[in-house]
């Protein structure tokens, strides 16, 4: 058990314990390499008067120095710990040479405190300050970040914890904050320009001839079909581990940020995805995860082995490590090009087994909003295509791939055969597709057939011809524009499916439908109307928009009347998942839970899928509404939502 690696890690841990304080002065206490965890009494930034100073700085990740933007000298920014019901004044000083801002993500507050330059306030000019003040009306795990330019990518983000005024329904003995992020040596402006001028620039896990010849990924026919459609099924993430190091609390995977526990304790992990572009799949091999909160809102506990967390989402998880051993928290990038890694251990200097990065998924026809399985005889047609054949042998991962430890690495080399074996015995494939496709598709037909939306569907012939990739009659409100590459001909509600690439991981993965609010929803009225919003994009030009119109060419907000309850259907016409966030409001996901619908501020709309939510437009003002993938927003995937009292305009 005590391998060379363990000893090395131990020595390194000991060295860090000695010099740690000096080395990591730029880290807040809760994010130091070895964290004993937080107690309510632990000094953090709290109270009624808080000063936050935004400035350029450097940060060290895995021994390398990076440029960064920090707050009060730290990346992530300091933990702000508040109590429900208190009043808070946050004086934010901008010491950058450009405008800055702080948006309090998920907090309910007046519009002029929301911190979006150009929407809620003018921003904070260099050398000046802005005094945010508001009453704290909620509890839970939230975060804050810049809403100016691309500063978020450079480290301008931090966690917020609001303790409930009354008893916390979540029982736990110790807590840790897990801020997941992505960091690059490239400036965010450079990343954006590369995305614009060179599609696939950061993807080093594309399909190749070497892969074709070794029988991996898609077979030839599928490749030709996809080439004909000018789509790349390996385009899972725009920005990948080829430039990113994935962080936990500002630490790289080699830094091995360690959270301490005593065996038998219930440990609450407050997981925040503060990255610019990375959807993470989070798991702790060997520990079931009890999800107790989503986006700061308590949910009925549900136990899973893994969950996907979109950019800007938060999940609170309770784990009960019983053994006196180290566990690895793995935050695997959705395209598996790298991982964020932390360790849960009873003592400093330990390292758990690190599982290898799994194979990157491939998009399928369903991800393009073409649910083939709904057509009799075509079940799973494209599902099996590349998914089970293994990944391209030349695919590259970032340095975190080298962390996979002895036993786990051995498994990794056997990955495919092991997987296949498991697939065949443990998991019945036809059963899987039956679940996904049979029931989902059937559902969709039942529901949609009735309201005539599927009129154009070719029920008899099930010919591909009726499923045009860019047929504006499928979405009349979408502007015919070069920014619209595809329109999902048959988008389906995918909230019952695990996220992209997680359908066949062999254990329980959280799906949105698992989430139920712990308390009854505050507003249980029926929506008075519903609206559709199409998420549109063009991966070849890296253009992203809503309804085919970029923020930069659209000046009219999406209007709501104060107090109005509205159903919003988000329809993803692209082959990428988008974490959609609305400011100033929570929404209730329409996932079959009546008045116990889970309340969220951000939701991933899976590729080619759709998500429906109800919300009460109760916060008067103008609010930002956007995809939280930073470069998608920067490319135009944003709108202003206006809420006005009736008769006011």
């Amino acid at each position: 058990m005590i391998s060379a690696l363990d000893r090395r890690q131990f020595l390194r841990g000991a060295a860090l314990a000695g010099g740690g304080a000096a080395l990591s002065a730029w880290l807040p206490a809760w994010a130091q390499t070895i964290s004993p965890g937080m107690r309510p009494t632990l000094p953090t930034v709290s109270g009624e008067d808080i000063t936050l100073t935004i400035a350029r700085q450097s940060m060290t990740i895995d021994g390398r120095k990076f440029r960064a933007i920090g707050v009060n000298g730290t990346v992530p920014a300091p933990l702000i710990r508040l109590r429900e019901g208190q009043r808070v004044r946050l004086n934010v000083i901008n010491q950058l040479e450009e405008d800055s801002s702080i948006h309090w993500h998920g907090l309910i507050l007046p519009a002029n405190m929301d911190g979006v330059p150009g929407v809620s306030f003018p921003g904070i000019k260099p050398g000046s300050n802005y005094l945010y003040q508001f009453s704290v009306v909620q509890s839970g795990t939230y975060w804050y970040h810049s809403h100016s330019g691309l500063q978020e990518q450079e480290g301008h983000y931090g966690p917020i914890i609001i303790d409930p005024a009354g008893a916390d329904p979540v029982a736990y003995d110790r807590e840790h904050v897990i801020v997941l992020a992505d960091h690059s040596a490239l400036s965010p402006q450079a990343i954006f320009r590369r995305l614009k001028v060179n599609p696939g620039h950061f993807n080093f896990q594309r399909q190749t001839l070497a892969g074709l010849l070794s029988g991996k990924d898609q077979p030839l026919k599928d490749r030709l079909d996809w080439g004909q459609m000018r789509m790349d099924p390996a385009d899972i993430s725009d920005v990948t581990g080829s430039t990113y190091t994935y962080l936990v609390n500002g630490h790289g995977p080699m830094d091995n940020w360690t959270a301490l526990f005593t065996p038998g304790e219930r440990v609450r992990l407050r997981v925040i995805n503060a990255s610019a572009m990375t959807t993470f799949n989070v798991r702790i091999p060997g520990l079931p995860l009890s999800i107790v909160q989503a986006d700061g809102q308590n949910v009925m506990p549900v136990t899973v082995d893994e969950f996907q967390i979109g950019v800007a989402e938060t999940y609170d998880v309770v784990v009960s490590p019983g053994d006196d051993k180290a566990y690895t928290l793995v935050g695997e990038a959705i395209d598996r090009s790298g991982m964020a890694r932390a360790t849960l251990a009873p003592r400093a200097g330990m390292a758990g087994e690190v599982p290898p990065l799994r194979k990157r998924p491939l998009a399928d026809m369903k991800d393009m909003g073409m649910d083939m399985s709904s057509m009799p005889g075509m079940e799973g047609m494209d599902m099996s295509g590349g998914a089970m054949r293994g990944v391209d042998p030349t695919a590259e991962k970032n340095a975190s791939a080298r962390l996979a430890t002895g036993a786990a690495a051995a498994v990794a080399t056997m990955d495919h055969s092991a997987m296949a074996g498991m697939d065949h015995s443990g998991m019945d494939h036809s059963a899987m597709s039956g679940v996904d496709h049979g029931s989902m598709a059937g559902m969709d037909h039942g529901a949609m057939g009735a309201d005539g939306q599927m009129a154009g569907m070719d029920h008899g012939g099930h010919a591909m011809g009726s499923m045009k990739m860019r047929d504006f009659s499928n979405a009349p409100q979408v502007k015919r524009d070069p920014s619209v590459q595809t329109i999902s001909p048959m988008p389906v509600d995918r909230t019952g499916e695990p996220g992209q690439g997680l359908a066949d991981v062999g254990h329980k993965v959280l799906v949105y439908r698992d989430l139920m609010a712990l308390d009854r929803n505050p507003d249980v009225r029926a929506p008075s109307r519903s609206i559709d919003i199409h998420l549109t994009g063009n991966m070849e030009r890296f253009m992203w928009s809503f309804d085919g119109e970029k923020m930069s060419d659209h000046h009219e907000p999406i209007p709501f009347i104060e107090g109005e309850r509205v159903r919003v259907n988000l329809i993803n016409d692209t082959m990428m998942g988008h974490p959609i966030h609305i400011h100033g409001h929570f929404f209730e996901l329409v996932t079959g839970h009546g008045d116990h619908a889970p309340r969220k501020h951000t939701v991933i709309v899976q590729p080619g899928g759709k998500v429906t939510w109800d919300f009460t437009a109760d916060a008067v003002g103008d609010w930002a509404f956007h995809c939280h993938l930073l470069y998608h927003m920067h490319a135009g995937m944003m709108r202003v939502v206006s809420v006005r009292p009736k008769g006011d305009a």
């Binding site: 009925m300 009799p376 039956g434 920014s483 909230t495 159903r567 839970h593 429906t612």
Partner: protein, 372 residues
């Protein structure tokens, strides 16, 4: 089958809870299923109502309420039972707690404690069809902040959300050509600056032989406009240099990504003398590995008339075929080696023969593809 069953079962459910219940049992054929506990009927009732609800407004709520339980069951782990399960799985769900327990183990069942929430309320309700309000005519923040400051920050925000300009300079060919006679060189590149739709575009290509200067070269200055997701329409001026008279042309063309992932461009050129030329070129990047890329490339030139002073005959002028194998040390810097074959055709070839020149040439090339 699924599609047929769905409305059918829904219809049965509409009539009464009991038959649907019975039907579900039979369909699942779950042996030894205990009758549902007191919670289950409540859920069943809700389901029926959900099914009975008008479906006109939006499909999602129906779908979701009808679906969730089968999903709960589905998500934990693939179950043989779920194979080809038709839609009635949903109403049947309440009788399956035993199964779910085994799945979730110690966990609280997400669906089950839901009973209090399973009344026909909240998100289970259908949406109405009230008209949307008109968009407001003002910016709310202008009430709290000086209008000028807001206008300035709004302009920045708008520009930063899809309105920024950017540019690139790409030398696709930049190479040394070894062939019989004097060795030469060749370049073919382009650059642009602008936004998503409107851009200023520069193109240049040319070739020469060492010691003899430039044989032929051209520079194009174009306005480029995106006309669809993949193609740009481009128009402007082309100026030729090199041996022979330096001609100026008006040019119009398209450039973009064709089905099959071929980068293609085609253009027509009208010279100040009234001569018309045409060109079609295309290439394909075949990834052999993530960084080793073979680029087959073809260029075909046409002329509408003889242009003797430029040694051009009407019709097909020449064909250039090439294959270049590059290694991308980075996406932006990729040395390559390859072979290039040029064949003059038709009247142009005849003119060349008369002048005692070769009508075809094979070159071995080495160069670097780079962009910044």
């Amino acid at each position: 089958m699924t599609r047929i069953l769905t409305p059918l079962v829904s219809a049965i459910a509409l009539l009464s809870a009991a038959p649907a219940f019975a039907q579900d049992h039979s369909m699942h054929g779950m042996p030894g299923m205990a009758p549902p506990g007191e919670v289950a009927p409540a859920q069943e009732k809700k389901k029926d109502k959900a099914a009975a609800r008008p479906r006109a407004q939006t499909p999602a709520p129906d779908a979701t309420s009808a679906m969730d339980h089968s999903q709960h069951q589905a998500s934990p782990a693939p179950q043989g039972d779920a194979a080809g399960q038709p839609q009635p799985a949903s109403p049947a769900m309440p009788e399956m707690p035993g199964m779910d327990h085994s799945q979730h183990g110690q966990t609280t069942m997400p669906g089950m404690p839901a009973m209090p929430g399973m009344q026909m309320t909240g998100t289970a309700l259908p949406a109405g069809n009230a008209p949307p309000p008109p968009p407001p005519s003002d910016h709310f923040a202008d009430r709290d902040f000086p209008g000028g400051e807001m206008a300035r920050s709004r302009d920045i925000m708008m520009k930063d959300s899809g309105g920024n300009n950017f540019g690139q300079v790409l030398l696709n060919l930049f190479e040394y050509q070894a062939h019989s006679g004097r060795d030469g060189y060749r370049w073919d590149g382009e650059g642009f600056y602008g936004g998503d739709i409107n851009r200023l575009w520069l193109k240049s290509e040319g070739e020469g032989e060492f010691g003899r200067g430039i044989d032929s070269a051209e520079v194009q200055v174009l306005y480029s406009r995106a006309i669809d997701p993949y193609f740009n329409l481009q128009g402007g001026i082309r100026q030729d240099f090199g041996r022979g008279p330096d001609r100026t042309y008006a040019t119009i063309g398209v450039e973009g990504l064709a089905p099959g992932m071929f980068e293609v461009e085609g253009a027509l050129f009208l010279s100040t003398k009234g001569d018309v030329l045409g060109r079609v070129e295309g290439y394909y990047d075949q990834r052999i590995t993530q960084r080793l890329i073979l680029q087959p490339r073809a260029e075909v030139n046409f002329a509408a008339q003889d242009i003797p002073e430029n040694d051009i005959g009407s019709g097909l002028v020449n064909i250039e075929l090439g294959a270049r194998l590059r290694y991308e040390f980075s996406r932006q810097f990729a040395p390559y080696i390859g072979v290039s074959y040029l064949r003059k055709a038709g009247d142009t070839a005849r003119l060349s023969r008369l002048a005692g020149e070769d009508v075809h040439a094979t070159s071995f090339v080495a160069g670097v593809r780079f962009w910044f």
